[in-house]
């Protein structure tokens, strides 16, 4: 198995708050046969805070990482956090699109003896990378313990899909749905898969954030989900840590654990939960893990539509 290496931008959250993501990413990487090598001395992407306070420093902050990656000769950089992914991608795009931005940012970078040529580093999200470079079939090959009997809600959040999705539909993406099905589990119908988790709103107006979180958790529960699968530490944090407070506020009793997609793949690959960082979550996974069955559940055939029922839309492609 050839060991391909990727330049990797973990982002601050993965250092501690969402260490589970880091751990499981590496586990999956090892199995699939690639290595995530951190961009040397990378710095924080500034989250949304920087952009909303002072734009040029914000761009420059992000651009330092891109510049360092370019310097190291990387043609692409992989981000695991959706927000980091957006900030890196957006800075690259804006520097390309708006000469003014490019000029000013590079002027700033020069102060640090750096320079970045927009477009020279391709910014990718880990999910997209795994699915396009390796793909469902490869992942299936390494699946030792299919997740039979689980119903999982694929939660993409905002920033992977928007503003301009790189590999999937902006409003109703399906990549993770296919991944879940491929791993033997069932993808729950989940209309709010790209609805915002509230981001930093938990810090600014808690009620607002809790309402948003509650909506998402409820929608997942309505779809019969045993757990929510996410691709972003911020989403995981909000849905996991704040679910309890949301329950208090709305007098509900949801207990839906929230995992990272790499933890999901890891499970199916047969890793022991602790090796995937399980145990850091607020809402325990133990019931879920027990729920996994040895044999695929019997196919439930869709209930027949009545005779006079009208066909669902077919339109010429």
């Amino acid at each position: 198995m050839t060991n391909k290496t990727y330049a990797y931008y973990p982002g601050c959250s993965l250092q501690h708050r969402s260490h589970a993501y880091e751990v499981s990413n590496n586990a999956v990487a090892k199995t699939l046969g690639f290595e995530l090598v951190e961009v040397d001395d990378w710095n924080c992407c500034g989250a949304t805070e920087m952009f909303s306070l002072n734009r040029i420093p914000a761009y420059s902050l992000v651009a330092r990482n891109l510049a360092r990656a370019e310097e190291a000769g990387s043609e692409e950089v992989i981000a695991a956090c959706s927000l980091c992914f957006l900030n890196l991608a957006k800075t690259d795009q804006h520097m390309k699109k708006f000469a003014k931005v490019e000029h000013k940012v590079n002027q700033a970078l020069a102060a640090g003896k750096l320079h970045y040529d927009p477009g020279s580093v391709r910014v990718r999200h880990l999910l997209e990378m795994v699915l396009t470079d390796y793909g469902l079939n490869t992942i299936k090959e390494y699946t030792k313990r299919p997740l039979y009997g689980l119903t999982l809600a694929p939660y993409y959040g905002c920033l992977l899909a928007r503003p301009n999705s790189v590999f999937d539909n902006t409003e109703q993406p399906t990549a993770m749905d296919h991944l879940i099905e491929a791993l033997g589990a069932k993808a729950a119908p989940f209309s709010m898969k790209t609805y915002c988790c509230g981001g930093h709103m938990t810090q600014i107006s808690e009620a607002t954030a809790l309402e948003m979180i509650h909506k998402i958790v409820k929608n997942a529960a309505d779809g019969g989900a045993d757990a929510i699968v996410t691709v972003c530490p911020m989403c995981q944090l909000n849905l996991d840590v704040y679910q309890g407070y949301a329950n208090q506020l709305f007098e509900t009793e949801f207990e839906i654990p929230v995992m990272f997609f790499s933890q999901l793949i890891g499970l199916a690959m047969g890793f022991a939960p602790k090796d995937l960082g399980f145990g850091q979550e607020f809402i325990s996974f133990s019931p879920l893990l027990e729920k996994i069955q040895e044999i695929p559940p019997a196919k439930v055939k869709p209930e027949r539509r009545s005779k006079q029922a009208l066909p669902m839309p077919v339109m010429p492609e």
Partner: protein, 192 residues
């Protein structure tokens, strides 16, 4: 074409936002207001703000809580039929509000400033510090919330999800140099 026209509030907002000139294309259709997950909490929907910007109601716009409720989810931007970079315009409004001391949402800015404080000192964000600094000082006036957050912090610690010692990047000088230069540029002329 006629460049002699004096700069209006609208011009300044448009100028300060990458792609901001599209603001003039707003149809007032409300796709943004409808898409916004925190829309119900905003005193003016983005659409209304844009109308107010055109009407030159600078004070009201900069005092609006809308930009502070923006969660940067880009739903509006993705759905806008005129492809206006709404989220970025919200950022611009925040910046203007701060520059012109026009905002009364201490929460929001304090959080941002604390956050950025850490980034500028260490090059990395630092939740524990953020938790302590932000929650213990800025939220002192909301004891209940503080308690709750305190409790959460503890739980985070127990689960080893908070670092106790802040991490710094090695080449801090380089980052500082870049950021200072960037600030200088930003301060010098109108933002892009």
């Amino acid at each position: 074409m006629n460049t002699s026209r004096p700069q209006t509030f609208y011009d300044r907002v448009a100028k300060a936002t990458p792609g901001g000139e599209l603001l003039g294309q707003c149809l007032q259709c409300g796709s943004c207001g409808g898409s916004c997950p925190s829309g119900p909490d905003m005193d003016h929907t983005p659409r209304a703000l844009f109308a107010m910007i055109r009407a030159g109601l600078e004070d009201e716009v900069l005092r609006s809580n809308a930009p502070w409720y923006c969660v940067s989810c880009f739903s509006c931007t993705a759905r806008c039929p005129q492809q206006i970079p709404i989220t970025d315009i919200m950022y611009t409004l925040k910046q203007m509000a701060i520059q012109e001391g026009h905002y009364d949402h201490p929460h929001a800015t304090k959080f941002s400033e604390t956050f950025i404080g850490f980034v500028e000192q260490r090059g990395r964000s630092f939740e524990f510090g953020l938790a302590t600094r932000y929650h213990l000082f800025h939220l002192i006036q909301h004891p209940t919330q503080m308690l709750k957050m305190g409790g959460m912090g503890f739980n985070m610690l127990r689960r080893n999800r908070l670092a106790l010692r802040p991490k710094s990047i090695q080449n801090m000088d380089q980052l500082s140099a870049i950021l200072n230069e960037a600030k200088a540029i930003a301060a010098k002329e109108e933002q892009v």
